[in-house]
Amino acid sequence: MTSTMSLTAEEFHPLQTQVEQEGNTLLINMGPQHPSTHGVLRIVLKLKGEEVVYAEPVIGYLHRGFEKLAENLTYIQIVPLADRMDYISPVTNELAYCLAVEKLMKIEVPKRAAYLRVLTSELQRVASHLVWLGTYGLDLGGALGGGSTLFLYCFREREIILDLFEELTGARMMYNFNQIGGVRYQPPDGFALRVRGMIRKLDQAISEYQQILEENYVFQVRTRNIGVLPLELGKSVGAEGPVLRGSGFRYDLRKNEPYCRYEDFQFEIPTGEKGDCFDRAKVRIIEMKESLKLVWQALEGLPEGAISSRPAVRVAQAVKPVEGEVYARIESPRGELGVFLVSDGSAKPFRLKWRAPSFSNLALLPHLVVGHKLADIMAILGSLDPVFGEVDR
C-alpha cells in the first residue's frame, strides 16, 4: 500500500536530476519517453535498492480536451471524435456514446443493427486483446521467444481482423461505424464466410499462444504473485473489466446489465483466482476465445432488415435530445466504459463525462507496485492494459 508520502515540488519537477541520493532512497524519473509505457506516461519513483517504495504516475501528456470539445460540437460530430479516445478499440467507444444518446432520446435500435454492433464489438475486443498480448510479450522481454516474436505473431493475426473491418467500414482504425439509431454499413457479400474463416484460424492461434505463455516457466516466474490486487482495493478504486475479474470477481456488464441484445448470446465469463498479473493475462486470453464464439453466434443469428432506425443524417442540427441527463455504459475491452451525458435541449451536449476504464485501472498502479522490484513495474503496468488516449482524454 502507498504511504501518505508525497513528493515535494522540487522532486516532482521533470528537470530535476534524474538520479538523486537522499538518505537511502533514490529518486528516478521513468518516462515520459520509455519504450514500455504503452504511450506517454511518466512515473516518479522512489527506490530503496531495487525495491519501489513510492510511485507517482504523472499523466496528461496526451490530453486533447475531449470533454471541452464535445461541449462545442453537435451530437453527430462527436461520434468520430469518440473513436479517438481509446484508439486500440474505437468501435466500442462509438457504441458507448451512441447508446447514451439513444437512451436519452429513447430510440429503439433494429435487431440487425444490434447484432452488427455485437459482431463489431467482439471483433474489436479480440483485436484489442491481441495488441495487449503482443505488447505484453515485449514488456516482459526476450525470454518469451526472442522478444518481438509474440508481438509480430499477434499483429499478424490482428491484421486479419483489421482487413475485415476495412471491408465493412472502409477504415482500418477510426471506423465511424455506429451512428445514433443504428449502424452505417451493411456487411458486403461473402463477409460472413471470411469472418468464419478468420475465427477458425484465430481460435487455433490463440490456443497456441495460451500454451506458449501459460506453460512457459519464465512467464510464470515473471507474473505469478506479482502485483496482487485485493478485490476490496479494486472496487474502491473503481477498477473494471479483466483487472477486476482477475481478482476472482465474476462481473461483466454484458451479462449483468445486457445492452445490444447480449442476453441472446451464450458465453462464459472467465475469472482468475489470486488477482496477480498471471490471472489478468489468463482472463484476457480466455476472453478472446469467448469473443470469437460471440462473433460466430452473431453471424448465425444475424437477422435481415434495416440497420438503422433513423435515416442517415445529413443535417447535423437534426439531433436535439430533450433536457435531462443519462449514464450509459458498456463493457469495453478494458472494462466499464461509461458516458455521462447532460443535455440542455440544444444541439450540443451541455456536459459529457467520459468515465474511462483505463483511467481507473491506471489509478491502481501506485498501490500495486510498492514493494516490488523496479523491473516488475513493466509487468504490472502491462497487465493493467492502459491506453493513454483514454486515460488523458
Binding site: E232, K235, S236, G238, Y327, A363, R393
Partner: protein, 146 residues
C-alpha cells in the same frame, strides 16, 4: 437491499428525498457530503464508479456514483456549490476519488478539503484557468501557450 429500501434508509439518516428510477439519485448539502459517502460505503456500496462536476454557470454541481455490483444497486449523490465554495474530500473513503477529485479541481477549480495531494492532473502544473468551466472559451490561447 432494494433501491426503495436504500432510499428509505437515506431519508431516515439524512432527511433528503431520493429520486428512484434506474438508479437512486439524491442531493445532499455540502456539509453532509463526506458522511453520506461513508454511510453508503458502510451500507455495502463499495464500488466507486466516478466523480465529476457540471458547471451550471451560477452554481457548480458535483456528483459521485457508487455501486453495489452484486446487488445491482447504484446511487448518484449530487451536491450544489457556489463556484468559490469548497467540498470535503472523500479520497480517504474511496481510493478512486483521489484522481477523480484532482481532475475536477484541474478542470473546474473546485477545491477538496482534506485531499492528500490536490494538484493538477491532466493539465500542466503551471497552467492558468479551469478549462471545463463554461466561461472558458475555446478560441483563445491561455498562458503558458506552448
Amino acid at each position: 437491499m432494494t433501491k426503495s429500501e436504500l432510499a428509505g434508509k437515506i431519508k431516515e439518516k439524512f432527511g433528503c428525498d431520493c429520486i428512484v428510477n434506474q438508479d437512486v439519485q439524491v442531493t445532499v448539502p455540502a456539509k453532509d457530503w463526506k458522511s453520506m459517502a461513508q454511510f453508503l460505503k458502510d451500507l455495502g456500496l463499495d464500488y466507486f464508479s466516478f466523480l465529476t462536476a457540471v458547471d451550471k454557470k451560477e452554481k457548480m454541481i458535483v456528483l459521485a456514483r457508487f455501486e453495489n455490483l452484486e446487488e445491482k444497486v447504484a446511487v448518484q449523490i449530487y451536491c450544489e456549490l457556489l463556484p468559490t465554495e469548497k467540498l470535503t474530500s472523500i479520497a480517504g473513503i474511496y481510493v478512486g476519488a483521489d484522481w477523480m477529485e484532482r481532475e475536477v479541481y484541474d478542470m473546474f477549480g473546485i477545491e477538496f478539503e482534506g485531499h492528500p495531494n490536490l494538484k493538477r492532473i491532466l493539465m500542466p502544473e503551471d497552467y492558468q484557468g479551469f478549462p471545463l468551466r463554461k466561461e472558458f472559451p475555446l478560441d483563445q490561447h491561455y498562458e503558458p501557450y506552448r
